[in-house]
């Protein structure tokens, strides 16, 4: 069962039931919610620095050297991931697996023309009339 960001089962929004139990209470309860919790998601200089709005010296002075060093390492790792490219051969594999013709429309209701809509309506009315006659 999937929980949404507010920690409710999807059906609870409709039924108004109490929120369901979280899957992983210790980890997810704190991190899944959009609204700020006490002591978290406050606007800090660390976020400003990570968003490129203040320099590292200022962030280090206020937030502490250890936090800045941790995020420097995380950023270095992120930079490595940013250089990843699609492995060789994947693009060719995708091209080879494409069907012969692209889809133009897929939804059945998009394919109904006015003429076919009228024909379907007439047919349904005829069937309804026949049923009505049979039941009389």
């Amino acid at each position: 069962m999937m929980l949404d960001d507010a920690g409710f089962e999807r059906n609870d929004k409709i039924t108004g039931n109490e929120p369901a139990q979280r899957k992983d209470k210790s980890a997810e309860r704190l991190y899944d919610r959009e609204v700020p919790l006490n002591g978290t998601s406050g606007h800090t200089l660390l976020h400003d620095w990570l968003d490129g709005e203040v320099d590292v010296m200022r962030a280090s002075e206020v937030e502490g050297k250890s936090k800045v060093e941790l995020w420097t390492r995380i950023n270095a790792e992120s930079e490595m991931l940013r250089r990843r490219v699609t492995p060789v051969g994947v693009q060719q594999r995708i091209m080879a697996s494409l069907p012969d013709t692209p889809g133009t429309t897929t939804s059945w209701w998009k394919q109904i023309t006015p003429v076919s809509a009228i024909a379907i309506t007439v047919a349904l009315l005829a069937v309804g009339a026949l049923i009505f006659q049979a039941l009389r």
Binding site: M2, D5, K23, D24, E28, L30, Y31, D32, R33, E34, P36, T40, S41, H43, L46, H47, W49, L50, D51, G52, E53, V54, D55, V56, S66, K67, V68, E69, L70, W71, T72, R73, I74, N75, A76, E77, S78, M80, L81, R82, R83, R84, V85, T86, P87, V90, Q91, R93, I94, M95, S97, L98, P99, D100, T101, P102, G103, T104, T105, T106
Partner: protein, 203 residues
Amino acid sequence: MTAAPLQNQGSQTLGGGSSTPDAAAPGIDADQEIIAKVLAGHKDSFGVLITRYSDPLYRHALGMTGSPDVAEDILQASFIKAYQHLGEVRGRFDAWVFRIVANSCKDWLKNIRRTHVSYDEDDQPSTYSTPEEEMDRNELRTDLQFALARLAPSLREAFVMKHVEGRSYEEMALLLETTVGALKMRVHRAREALQQLLEEKYA
């Protein structure tokens, strides 16, 4: 250390792009021309779109799933789906195909909330000078992935888009069809969660 460690790169929305959502993005008209060609029967033209967008889409899938194999599969399935529904594209192809990939990643995470992740097929050249630095890097990489796996998909998505893909909040808002404020909140929460999980060992 630079003052702005997360500056964007590239010039297009999917390439890690422009700083404003309404900025004229080069390639959009070209995308529409290519789509028209493909729909007219030139199947090979779809390869241009794959070449143009596969790298940022692959990085997103890799960041979200942590698995190169899964990322490849999601990329392939997403492009096939895009091809099958190409006639339904309204607006920007890059944003449309991004949402296909992003939804596939979140569906995968919903179905497999796994904690084991690795970039074991990392073929990137090392920038670390000593074996000790390389070991430290691998350890942090593993721990970071474990920590990311504990985040809710929406927080992980926001973190990956901001930190790994280097996107601006405006770009993210455009691609995810939400507000800059909501995304800032998600990124901040993801950072705080990761910091809480990692700082005991590293800070």
